[in-house]
């Protein structure tokens, strides 16, 4: 119970007291509705992005309502009916949406049960709920949700006065559950937005210029296949056709007929650190502590660099739009339908109320990818074809090269241990572009094609959320280890030649690695085992210590290496407020570094679907293996050149390590999210393993032969 304001929940009438996203949307009917057929439909504002959230939310609702999960439907979010839960990001969907649905369902159950009790002349305590039916102690039914479904009982605001079930009383949440969406995906059924076929639908492709900064000088006319037509809006080009093959074929022809003035606008790829250090920045203090510190006995000063990264989703971004008069309906796999709507309104010059944004599932989403951008593309092209739905599918080149990218960065750390081998000083400076160019947050739109219209919209420079909101580039820049003197700052770049935004983990990819690498070096400098050294600084963080001990035990730490074989271990609490995760990694270094095994221990607090959470944690770790060992976005001064799987390789089946994983969180602790905690520790553990195998400490990602050779110099 939350007594922060000095009175019990529910008597205040203050939505600020309500749990999770009920604060933003307290009306119960916006979260769930019963139907006369005995089902309930839950309507979260969070969306399925491949992470399995719909299943977890259904589990929560089934538990609180005492309904079989088979009778729980979860609706895709759409404006204007869905609660505005912002963006599905930050590993926050259970904390925000799940907690809201849990409390909303608990209140809905109490309201319906209370009415049934009054009508039966009984007290609520004399009734129980089984399979959605209200029963007396002797099992006689006195009513059910289904028969009360049309009484509009949920047209009230949440009061926050009904406690959800205790952890031990839950029967569905907390147990492994098969994903609700997986059967359709296994049988090839049309579930994705990409599969949507509306009557009269047209297919469109965008034709991007050969450079970021480009002016269309001339477009040679000529025949196009399949009746395709060209649409030109300033420097934006698209082709439209009735059939998809014709749109593809026409796009290739139009690209060859366009003549552009191209301007260099990208930094020198060969020396990104120099560019990052030369760009004007805005400095922000992240953390500072000035407790008395003993003198330093050993000091380590290091600089770590990371490249730009691509989301590299397997399915290119897709959207469908249809105009009727001065209103447009957009189907999108965006993470934030209201945020997208706001930027669409700005670019299209429409009232938001004239734009309906409906979520539909896309391919795996790991952050702010091209989903929002392609939604604008579809709306722009469809405006030229009133009444006709227009589907835009991006190419592989657009998906890799034109989506927002995770920005390059530098972390400089100077840290010391005292004569007793305890941390005494820690200074860190993190540099790079901001990690958010999400739509709907600034005066100007952030959508790609807005910058190519006539007149173009200026593209806002990416920002970082404040630490209270999870941070961006500074995420996880503050070590979780106790240290008396601490000075961490973030220098956000004020120029953005490559559009930068959120990718799974954000700043944690660089920051957890750099912190853990320095911890390894300080342990070595002071003659301590890396695990024991970390544990000495985790006395105020027992859950962090527990995951680290667990991962160490799982891998049999300290592990003997061999010729070119070594193991590293690392730990972090995601964002400093989320889940704890420790990872041990074993690598084998021959021509390239290969990860053979991962051992992962995580404390995510309450876990709704343990199998789903394990899938997320392992998936995050494998994505981190790919990032750490293989990935860097290439570009020249004109454009991003990483526009194919050859140019941007990711982890393949033969490179996937064996994974052993344990979730050790207490089930009665608040849920902390599963999507992102494993990435930073995995990268850091790989770096430690490379040192154990080769004696070289990586200084730049990815840990390729070239970058490792440079680190030896």
């Amino acid at each position: 119970m939350n007594l922060a304001f000095g009175f019990p929940l529910g008597q205040s009438g203050n939505a600020l007291d309500l749990p999770g996203s009920l604060r933003a949307e307290p009306r119960l009917s916006r979260w769930l509705r019963f139907a006369p057929d005995g089902t309930v439909t839950v309507t979260p504002g969070k969306v399925e992005i491949g992470q399995g959230i719909l299943t977890a939310l259904a589990q929560i609702a089934a538990d609180e309502l005492d309904l079989p999960i088979e009778r729980v439907r979860v609706a895709a979010a759409a404006t204007p009916g869905s609660p505005n839960e912002g963006v599905t990001s930050g590993s926050l969907s259970i904390q925000e949406s799940g907690v809201a649905i849990r409390h909303a369902c608990a209140e809905a159950r109490a309201i319906h049960l209370g009415l049934a009790a009054r009508r039966a002349g009984l007290s609520v305590a004399e009734l129980r709920v089984e399979d959605g039916v209200f029963l007396r102690a002797d099992g006689t039914p006195v009513g059910d949700y289904a028969s009360q479904a049309e009484e509009a009982l949920l047209e009230v605001e949440a009061r926050g006065d009904v406690a959800p079930k205790a952890a031990g009383a839950r029967g569905v949440a907390g147990r492994p559950r098969a994903r609700l969406d997986l059967p359709e995906k296994v049988f090839g059924a049309p579930r994705y937005l990409h599969d949507r076929r509306l009557p009269g639908m047209l297919h469109a492709r965008m034709v991007r210029p050969p450079a970021r900064a480009a002016t269309l000088l001339d477009l040679r006319e000529g025949p196009l296949p399949g009746g395709a037509t060209v649409l030109r809006l300033g420097n934006l080009l698209a082709v439209v056709a009735a059939e998809e093959w014709a749109a593809d074929a026409a796009a290739a022809r139009v690209a060859a007929r366009a003549r552009w003035d191209l301007r260099e606008s990208l930094p020198d790829r060969s020396d990104l650190p120099a560019w990052i250090e030369a760009v004007p920045t805005q400095r922000g203090e992240v953390a500072r502590r000035d407790d008395p510190a003993p003198p330093a006995a050993h000091t380590v000063t290091r600089r770590f660099a990371r490249p730009y990264l691509a989301h590299a989703s397997i399915g290119p971004s897709c959207a469908v739009a249809r105009w009727e008069g001065e209103a447009v309906e957009v189907w999108t796999h965006s993470q934030g339908i209201y945020n997208l709507r706001a930027d669409l309104a700005t670019v299209l010059g429409l009232e938001a109320s004239r734009i309906t944004v409906r979520h539909a599932e896309g391919a795996g989403c790991y952050g702010h990818n091209g989903a929002d951008d392609v939604a604008l593309d579809a709306a722009l092209v469809a405006r030229a074809h009133p009444g006709r739905p227009v589907r835009v599918l991006w190419s592989r080149a657009e998906e890799l090269a034109w989506s927002p990218h995770s920005p390059a960065g530098l972390a400089e750390i100077e840290a010391s241990v005292d004569a007793k081998g305890m941390l005494c000083r820690w200074k860190a400076v993190v540099r790079g572009n901001g990690h958010s160019s999400r739509p709907g947050r600034a005066k100007d739109p952030t959508l790609l094609s807005a910058g190519y219209l006539d007149p173009p919209f200026p593209l806002p420079v990416a920002i970082d959320a404040p630490m209270a909101g999870g941070g961006g580039g500074q995420r996880n820049a503050v070590p979780g280890y106790r240290v008396p003197s601490l000075d961490v700052s973030m220098h956000r770049l004020l120029e953005m030649p490559i559009r930068s935004s959120a990718l799974r983990g954000l700043g944690a990819l660089l920051n957890v690695w750099s912190i853990e690498a320095v911890m390894d070096e300080l342990a070595a400098a002071s003659g301590q085992d890396p695990v024991a050294f970390r544990l000495r600084h985790l006395d105020e963080d027992p859950r962090g210590a527990a995951v680290l001990r667990e991962a160490a035990a799982m891998c049999g730490w300290p592990r003997a290496g061999g010729e070119g074989v070594g193991t590293g271990i690392a730990m972090a609490r995601y964002k400093g407020t989320g889940g704890w995760c420790a990872v041990a990694a074993e690598v084998e270094a021959a021509e390239v570094v290969r990860c053979r095994r991962l051992w992962i221990a995580a404390d995510l607090g309450e876990v709704i679907n343990p199998d789903g959470a394990a899938n997320q944690i392992e998936g995050g770790a494998l994505q981190a293996v790919s990032i750490a060992l293989k990935e860097a976005l290439d570009f020249d001064r004109l454009n991003v050149t990483a526009d194919s799987w050859d140019a941007y390789p990711v982890l393949r089946f033969s490179e996937v390590p064996a994974v052993e994983l344990r979730l050790i969180g207490p089930p009665d602790a608040p849920p902390l999210g599963a999507g992102e905690p494993s990435l930073g520790p995995t990268i850091a553990a790989l770096a430690g393993a490379i040192h154990a195998a080769l004696g070289v400490r990586p200084r730049a990602m990815p840990f390729t032969p070239d970058n490792l050779a440079a680190a030896m110099e």
Binding site: L182, G188, W245, S313, G364, E618, A658
Partner: protein
């Protein structure tokens, strides 16, 4: 030009102009959704189908190239009522996250079990090597294929 071939065991006929790939034909006039577009360059595995039993990418192959041949897609493997052993095993192992790569992976997995009913783990990984899974569900998928082999 009209192209006639066998699709999931049934004869089909489709008008295939120059520029229409097999994937275009399957997702367009033939109305399937299982084979998916991922790259258009035969590099990711999303669009895999079998052609005369051999797993092949369909995204760059001209539709006319399958005239007279037999094409199989994920829709032809099984149904919710009568799933193919690999489909049942993928559900039992919960082998997938976003699922976009699954259609192609299931096609390759089923083709592997056709020619090698008892593959070891290395053979499974080799068979799935042309397929990318960005979500990181590969280990579950390998377990699922091995499970399907045991069940068959």
């Amino acid at each position: 030009m009209p192209v006639a071939f066998t699709l999931n065991g049934a004869p089909v006929r489709v008008e295939a102009p120059e520029g229409m790939t097999l994937l275009h034909a399957l997702r367009g006039p033939l109305g399937l959704s299982g084979p998916r577009f991922g790259c258009g360059a035969e590099a990711c595995g999303c669009c895999y189908v079998t052609i005369d039993g051999e797993p092949r990418p369909s995204c760059a192959l001209p539709a006319e190239a399958v005239a007279g041949r037999s094409v199989g897609t994920v829709e032809g493997l099984g149904t919710p009522e009568a799933p193919h052993p690999v489909q049942a095993a993928f559900l039992e192992e919960q082998a997938g996250q976003c699922g976009y790569c699954l259609s192609g992976i299931l096609v390759s997995a089923a083709a592997l079990l056709e020619r090698n009913p008892d593959p070891d783990e290395a053979a499974v990984r080799a068979a799935l090597e042309p397929h990318l899974c960005r979500c990181g569900a590969q280990n579950r998928m390998v377990r699922a294929v091995l499970r399907a082999a045991r069940a068959a």
